[in-house]
Amino acid sequence: MSKPDEHEVQIVFDASRCDGFGMCAVVCPELITLDRWGFADASRQPIADPRLQRKAARAVRCCPKGALTLADVPDAGRAAGAATMSA
């Protein structure tokens, strides 16, 4: 179990902002890869490791489009109900 001062974070990626600069994947290849067109593909896994959290934070800072943010992972279950296309 995690200590009280430890918390998990998660990369939140806004695909509509990504223009494929690709610096995020250079800074934090563990969590962010680039697809065949150079757009970021960010892991949605909760990050507990402080070292990895720092790398993720650097990736967030180096995006010139602001496509990446870090969010705290809520303790009591993550938000349910992904967006769906409706008629």
Partner: protein
């Protein structure tokens, strides 16, 4: 769409005067719920004469939410999300909420919402007011495409109700575009922005119109609520199944005698029953396109005996989506059909996310090559599957995932047709499209 009967197949004669098979009702049938009453547009006086005035729940919203929870009503736009959860989510945020009834029905071949809007506008508006009571909302907005059938009917119905002193219902005219019907796109448009899907994670039930909690609900869902508010949860659950309570509207289209027929499914009947009711041949067709143009192709013999139960169908990999049941008859090429749908979906993409912008045209181009016989290599299918893996789960909205899943289901359902195409043949006449697509914006 024209009806063709190649080979020995012929549509059965279907009398529009009959009520149809047991468990399936059409507009004006005995036993119908949403479609009960006359076979024409019901005005306010007629509506009240048939159903009585709607009960006023505004002083006990929590009770109404509890009734909705007990009813098991889920979103009939295709998401099947429990309405009670959406209402509770909106109620958890302090301050008055907003209700948006999604009456855009952006799915080109679906006609079920349009049927309600055209013929039962006051049921839809009663539902909108019941949603407002349950969410403690002080704003009710009906969102529609201006050119849509049913637009005039709803506008007239809103006028009729003003005369009776009811709370005003606003009408939002939404751009005629596929992705504009997505709930976050509706909210974005009402807020003065472009009608484009918003990043995931911002739930409209928490922060929507004007930053206020917003319940976006499909027109059929609202209409069910109008009846639940009158007759209760137990009554609602007398139709449908334990897993999928209540009746369900479906649109039967494609190679049937009466394409675009809307039925209310009251009891767990099979696809074969509704296809036959729509004037289809009384034997399994080649394939069925389920749930919309970004839906799922299912081999006809697999779909034929399956029960119309949204929950069980979703578990079986045949999601019912908006209730579209598209019949592909013999002598048709499913690859040609799928390629046309994919080209349209690609044109309709919002253009917000790079991977979708690059990926959908690439998938479309390759599938068109296979359908037209210009690409006969075995690798083409693998390339499409690989592109699909890159695209899926990456966009803001569900369009790219839906489009990719539609194409993948086509490649597996029409595997025999793929073999023919590799040899330069095609079993379709390639004449009139079975599933026509609207003209996309330039």
């Amino acid at each position: 769409m024209t009806l063709v009967s190649p080979g020995n197949w012929a549509p059965t004669a279907w009398s529009g005067e009959e009520d149809g098979p047991e468990g399936v009702a059409r507009l004006g049938s005995a036993g119908a719920r949403l479609l009960a009453g006359s076979a024409s547009r019901e005005g306010l006086a007629e509506h009240h004469a048939r159903l009585g005035p709607p009960p006023d729940w505004s002083n006990r919203p929590e009770d109404l939410v509890a009734v909705v929870r007990e009813s098991g009503l889920t979103g009939r736009g295709g998401g099947y999300f429990p309405l009670a959860s959406k209402l509770e989510s909106a109620r958890s945020v302090p301050g008055p909420a907003v209700v948006v009834v999604n009456a855009t029905e952006s799915e080109p071949a679906s006609a079920k919402d349009r049927t309600l809007l055209e013929h039962r506008p006051h049921l839809v508006l009663d539902g909108a007011q019941a949603l407002a009571a349950a969410a403690s909302a002080d704003r009710v907005i009906v969102a529609m495409h201006s050119g849509a059938a049913g637009f005039g009917s709803i506008r007239a119905a809103i006028e009729e109700r003003k005369d009776h002193g009811a709370a005003a219902t606003e009408l939002a005219i939404v751009p005629d575009r596929y992705v504009a019907g997505e709930s976050s796109a509706l909210v974005a448009y009402i807020n003065g922005g472009p009608a484009l899907p918003a990043p995931r994670g911002v739930r409209t039930s928490i922060s929507g119109v004007g930053g206020r909690p917003t319940v976006v609900s499909n027109a059929e869902t609202a209409s069910h609520l109008a009846l639940i508010a009158r007759f209760g949860a137990k009554w609602f659950r007398e139709a449908g199944t334990d897993l999928s309570p209540g009746s369900t509207l479906v649109t039967v289209t494609g190679d049937v005698a009466l394409p675009g027929s809307v039925f209310e499914v009251l009891q767990p009947v099979s696809f074969g029953t509704v296809i036959t009711a729509g004037g289809g041949s009384p034997a399994p067709p080649q394939a069925v396109l389920l749930g919309g143009y970004a839906g799922t192709w299912v081999p006809g013999d697999r779909a034929w005996g399956s029960t119309l139960d949204a929950t069980r169908l979703a578990r079986a990999g045949m999601p019912l989506g908006c209730g579209l049941v598209g019949v592909l008859g013999p002598g048709r090429c499913g690859l040609v059909e799928a390629a046309r749908l994919m080209a349209w979906l690609s044109d309709e993409r919002a253009g917000q996310c790079g991977t979708c912008t690059m990926g959908l045209p690439a998938v479309s181009e390759r599938l068109t090559g296979i359908a037209e016989g210009t690409q006969r290599g075995r690798r083409e299918v693998h390339r499409i599957v690989a592109l699909g893996e890159t695209i899926s789960g990456r966009g803001l909205c569900g369009l790219p995932d839906g489009a990719v899943a539609m194409v993948e289901s086509a490649l597996s359902t029409f595997s025999e047709e793929l073999r023919l195409h590799r040899k330069g043949r095609c079993s379709g006449g390639c004449d009139d499209p079975v599933f026509a697509v609207p003209r996309s914006r330039p």
